[in-house]
């Protein structure tokens, strides 16, 4: 298993997809810093309450297009490094060479773990980078609910934590984003069985994400919308059970991928 993990991580890390996804992710983080944060450097103390890093960083605000852009490109980026490799392995016959040398279980589990971790990393790294960059300009002033400058309300998920321990709140949200986007990336492993083309396989997580977004927004089930509940600014209030159920559904899809993969006649 250790060898398979090492090989899969190396394949993912050295792929053009990883470089492209990493580049686009950090570009969004840096451009947000340049266009939205740097102009604020002389206005930190101008208002009734100092501007705070917690209310202005990439995922802490809702007024610019950067958070929207980020949460619509990430579902594409997470799948680029590794999620398409399973489809490519099936098409090129690489999988036959691997499975003749190792147990099936090792190959499928390693593929799943690497896709999950790389997807999570691609999603969360630009967030951390942007938060740190923003913190170089804006002070980490503890949010105050009474100022009305912060987007979290009493009915928001972990609302109390945001105002008492904002760093803990952010860490929890980073973990949620990591796990959710990691699981979302693994959906393309299952899509490899259904989709004919590499393009549709890799974009399967994005298409699912887009449809869930559209359906939940248009039918009034806003609480189920990942575009809302994944953002630390919580433009749509949610609760932990919804997040957990959606992650479990995606894990279930991972189980189907493993089961079908083990039974599939690849020769």
């Amino acid at each position: 298993m250790k060898n398979e993990l090492k090989v899969e991580f190396q394949r993912a890390y050295n792929s053009y997809g990883f470089q492209f996804a990493f580049f686009v992710g950090i570009s969004i983080a840096i451009f947000h810093f340049i266009f939205m944060i740097l102009p604020l450097k002389d206005n930190v103390l101008l208002g009734d309450y100092p501007l705070s890093v917690f209310g202005k960083w990439l995922c802490g605000e809702d007024s610019s297009f950067f958070p929207t852009l980020y949460y619509f490109t990430v579902p594409i980026l997470i799948a680029l490094p590794n999620a398409g490799t399973y489809k490519a392995d099936l098409a090129t016959g690489y999988i036959r060479n691997v499975l003749s040398r190792t147990a099936r279980k090792n190959y499928f589990v390693a593929k799943y773990i690497v896709t999950f971790f790389i997807g999570g990393f691609i999603a969360v790294f630009p967030m951390i980078l942007n938060f740190l960059l923003t913190a170089t300009i804006l002070p980490a002033v503890i949010p105050q609910a009474s100022t009305g400058y912060f987007p979290i309300f009493s009915y928001s998920m972990l609302g109390d934590l945001y105002y008492s321990h904002p760093y803990v709140y952010l860490c929890i949200y980073m973990v949620i984003n990591f796990v959710f986007f990691g699981c979302l990336a693994t959906l393309s492993l299952l899509a490899a069985y259904i989709c004919e083309k590499l393009f549709t396989t890799i974009l399967a997580p994005f298409i699912i994400y887009l449809f869930v977004y559209a359906v939940t927004q248009l039918t009034g089930w806003h609480i189920l919308c990942p575009f809302g509940f994944l953002r630390p600014s919580q433009p749509i209030p949610t609760n932990g059970a919804v997040v957990l159920i959606e992650i479990l559904c995606m894990c279930l899809a991972g189980g189907v991928y493993y089961y079908v993969g083990k039974k599939k006649d690849i020769y």
Partner: protein, 273 residues
């Protein structure tokens, strides 16, 4: 005789019609489902008095988009969901085939046609045809759903464009979204040739989000939003300028595609992710 038939531009177009639609059959099939959903939601949201709905209002609602966004720290930036879904799915459908075909049968058709330009012309015509078919399908689905909706209520059929909307503006503003989508589709195609389909698709998403955020002459997404057109909004963008800029985009992108495909190493590396 057979050889001549395959090498003519007519043969290339015929090949594109058959192969292009066959390769994308699943996406087209799902696309019809997406359109049914989109139009259903449009009808739900654009119902007028007495639950009566007409096709003009639905068409207007689908492409209304959002008014100009004015940034402030209190404002909340939101995408017009139906508009975004409609355009994103269209670009998703047509993004991959032209480049992917080079790794498959396309190379043989290029050899048979004896001209890279003819082959590219086939791909351009296919992309334009796909955009037109998508719009025609949307219109047909709209007709069917409007008739079903109104007949269930035992009222009029509802196929008229209301005078409230049509007025003396003519039909050009109503087909401006189609023209701008053709331009964006060709822009996406040229990017997918220059880089790869994934880069092109990410760019398309970025382009649409920027179009909603900024009201700008050169962001073509603005022309597919009626609320940003001068015919419907006082400070909107000019329709004639819109058509001119779309044509400019199309000509520029065709020129870039022609140059690229002329110099491209078609036997080089296949699509890598």
């Amino acid at each position: 005789m057979l050889e001549r038939k395959k090498t003519s531009i007519k043969g290339i177009l015929l090949y594109e019609c058959k192969n292009g639609f066959y390769q994308n059959r699943v996406q087209i099939f799902i696309g019809i489902g997406v359109l049914v959903f989109i139009i259903y939601m449009v009808i739900q949201d654009s119902i007028l008095l007495n639950n009566y709905v007409n096709i003009g209002d639905c068409w207007f609602y689908l492409f209304s988009g959002s008014p100009e966004y004015i940034y402030s720290s209190d404002a909340k930036f939101e995408l017009p969901i139906l508009w975004f879904l409609f355009h994103t799915y269209l670009l998703y459908m047509i993004c991959n085939y032209p480049v992917n075909d080079l790794d498959e049968l396309g190379l043989q058709s290029m050899m048979l046609s004896k001209s890279r330009e003819k082959w590219l012309t086939g791909k351009l015509v296919w992309a334009i045809t796909m955009v037109c078919i998508y719009y025609i399908l949307a219109f047909l689905v709209m007709i069917v759903e409007v008739i079903i909706k109104n007949n269930f209520l035992e009222q009029k059929i509802g196929l008229e464009f209301t005078t409230l909307i049509m007025g003396d503006k003519g039909f050009v503003p109503y087909i401006l979204p189609l023209i701008s989508d053709i331009a964006i589709a060709i822009l996406q195609m040229s990017l997918s040739f220059l880089f790869n389909p994934f880069c092109a698709f990410v760019f398309s998403i970025l382009y649409f989000i920027l179009s909603v955020y900024f009201k700008n002459l050169f962001l073509l997404g603005n022309y597919s939003m009626f609320l940003r057109n001068i015919s419907f909004s006082e400070n909107g963008l000019n329709t004639e300028y819109g058509i001119a800029i779309c044509v400019l985009y199309i000509v520029l992108c065709i020129f870039i595609c022609m140059y690229h495909i002329h110099t491209r190493d078609i036997f080089g590396k296949s699509l890598e992710v």
